[in-house]
Homo-oligomer: 402 residues x 2
């Protein structure tokens, strides 16, 4: 927490008017902007979307309602919800030009998130997105709605194309979460499966000013188009230090296999200096509120995986409390997210893409908010190399005539 950008004594002082501001490396706690979208209170184990507890929303409302809250600023009444559901249902249908392009994109990579990155980039052109700088609010909002709506359709199609299966077209009459599951698996999900995934999605739509959200806002601050913002956000999201990987926690459960092996497994890992995936969080010093909710959702299934997960969580927390005292390492969102998604019928390769189906709501809302600020985000760096100007050595001059 006390690692600050330090200026080596050999550095020449800035030669312009100075006034550079030294802040903690990585910009931790440096306030870049104001937001009305939400916040994370790490010490309280609480996060919120606008004025509502995110966990309470996930417990009580559907995907479209929470999405409407981000997009339009308030929870919809019945009429608004009906109209919104019809509108986004239609937008979930993939534009034919993108459907034509998708098989070729899928042949370039087996990673569905990379497919989404490439496909949304192309989608920006296909739908004729204009720079945010040139758009009125209605045009921006329409683009944001369309991008969120088409994301599950792209990801589900990529999943199926990678397996040699035909993509399943969107059904505009279904709810967003249920239709996503249907497009992935090819069959109508049970109410339990659809609602579990929907609750996971609502609980992960946004989470403070994380690196992908910040990336989207930096790009938005240049006035670029929405697709530019989203491909950058997806890029950040794919970083091992950011997105996490719900599949890793499930892999650990697979590896442990039976509850009696959990304690030995975790002590071996910690002894060899490995991180325990699915435990600990950069912001929370409490239990991760998302993890608590997902655990309750997982318990709707009478499945040995749930018993194993609950037992392993206890064993790992106990071992971590003993071996890393005072660190407050608890199960994070990854741990039960993988369990819930697996129980709901999703393949582990789709865990991170599914996270993205939710997070794109937060990204677009953040992009729209940032686009109303005229200021470009353009920080500074401190030059610490050898002092310029050194003359270019004559021996290295180009031999091309000028």
């Amino acid at each position: 927490m006390s690692t600050h950008t330090t200026i080596p004594t050999s550095t020449p002082p800035p030669t312009d008017d100075g006034g550079f501001i030294t802040v903690p490396k990585g910009l931790a706690k440096v306030v870049v902007t104001d937001t009305a979208l939400g916040d994370v209170r790490g010490d309280e184990g609480f996060f919120h979307y606008r004025q509502y507890s995110a966990v309470e929303l996930a417990e009580q409302v559907g995907f479209e309602q929470a999405w409407h809250l981000f997009e339009r600023g308030h929870l919809p009444d019945d009429d608004e919800l009906s109209a919104f559901t019809v509108e986004v249902g239609r937008l979930r249908v993939m534009p034919p030009e993108l459907a034509d392009l998708l098989p070729a994109i899928c042949s370039s990579t087996n990673d569905s998130l990379q497919v989404l990155r490439t496909a949304l980039s192309a989608w920006g052109g296909i739908t004729g997105l204009r720079p945010l700088y040139d758009c009125a609010e209605e045009e921006k909002a329409a683009a944001a709605l369309a991008a969120v709506a088409v994301t599950p359709t792209i990801l589900a199609a990529a999943h199926r194309l990678h397996r040699g299966l035909e993509p399943v077209p969107a059904d505009p009459t279904l709810g967003h979460a249920a239709d996503y599951l249907r497009m992935v698996t090819g069959r109508l999900p049970s109410a339990r499966d659809a609602r579990a995934v929907e609750q996971y999605l609502v609980a992960t739509m946004d989470h403070g000013f994380n690196a992908s959200t910040f990336t989207a806002r930096v790009i938005a601050s240049t006035g670029a188009d929405l697709a530019a913002c989203l491909v950058g956000a997806i890029g950040s999201f794919s970083g091992p230090k950011h997105g996490g990987a719900p599949s890793r926690a499930l892999e650990a459960l697979d590896e442990i296999g039976t509850l009696d092996r959990a304690d030995v497994w975790v002590r071996e890992r910690i002894g060899s200096g490995e991180r325990i995936m699915g435990f600990g969080h950069a912001v929370y010093r409490t239990r991760d509120p998302r993890s608590e909710m997902l655990k309750a959702i997982a318990r709707r299934w009478d499945d040995p995986l749930v018993d194993l997960a609950v037992g392993v969580e206890d064993a790992i927390e106990t071992a971590l409390a003993e071996l890393k005292p005072g660190r407050e390492l608890h199960a994070n969102v990854e741990f039960y997210a993988g369990v819930v998604m697996k129980l709901a019928g999703l393949d582990p390769s789709m865990f991170t893409p599914t996270f993205c189906v939710a997070r794109v709501v937060g990204w677009t809302a953040n992009v729209l908010e940032q686009s109303r600020d005229p200021k470009i985000i353009r920080p500074a760096a401190r030059y610490v190399g050898p002092p310029p100007p050194q003359p270019v050595p004559t021996g290295t001059r180009t031999r091309q005539a000028s």
Copy 2:
């Protein structure tokens, strides 16, 4: 310069341990990192790549030499330059899988920069890029070299495909700048044309901590793959508030038509509150050193466009000095860049993409430098909406059973 993030009095104080740092909006002069790659001294009209004046490099060395300086940290000796030129020449050849995909990408948009965004995203999968987090330095450097090398090939192919022409394959035996011009126009450029474009490219490879460079570094800080960083950078670069557009300055010259109309034209524009494209810069309070160099390059042509540009520059500077006293509005890099590129045979639609052929060198060097810093870039935002938690209104609860 004194616009700070202000906290409305109605805002609840942060409820965690506090310690947030308030900085100027847009992070102006906030030092995010140390860099050994270069700097801009706006008040001196000077910028440098490592320890060398960038303008001096552009005057004296070729693209491959300056690229080697960024990539390997020093100007190459003869043997290093020969080996480097052979290596990057081979890498300029487009992978066949990407060549197959490109026509479909080009049919999604007429904007070559958007094609590059989508194509580099796909290229990351095609070439099997791994997350920077998992790469040793050699693997990162190889990816960076390949990305810079293939960029002109993608852009030139996009330009030709958009016009119904066959792409011209790379010729690994040519220099990077000359081959780029050849791939765009379909004919071997004259030494004068190739060198002029090469000098423009060397002069625009990097320019401090601009928004696209910062975007690339934020994404790199998550440990994502190089393609993720570059598509984000291209996204920022495409923003109207960032990249600028050398074609706009040329359009102004077209509109003015003859020198005697320049004064009236500029006074009308300023009178109606319009910005004069190609004049003024966020950082420079002097003449833009790149503009000075490009003006000298333009003078190698005996062409009425050069006389018009020089005359119009004088007329606009004189009018701006009178109408906006003390603002120090001089021709920026855009103004003569368009003139030089047009004279060298590039279509205005390729001006910004050509800028990108250069800037990708700076992006990749910045990505590699950032990837050596273990710290993720993750700032904060201040929540300013209605205080949470408000109970979710019962009327809006989901009607789906959970």
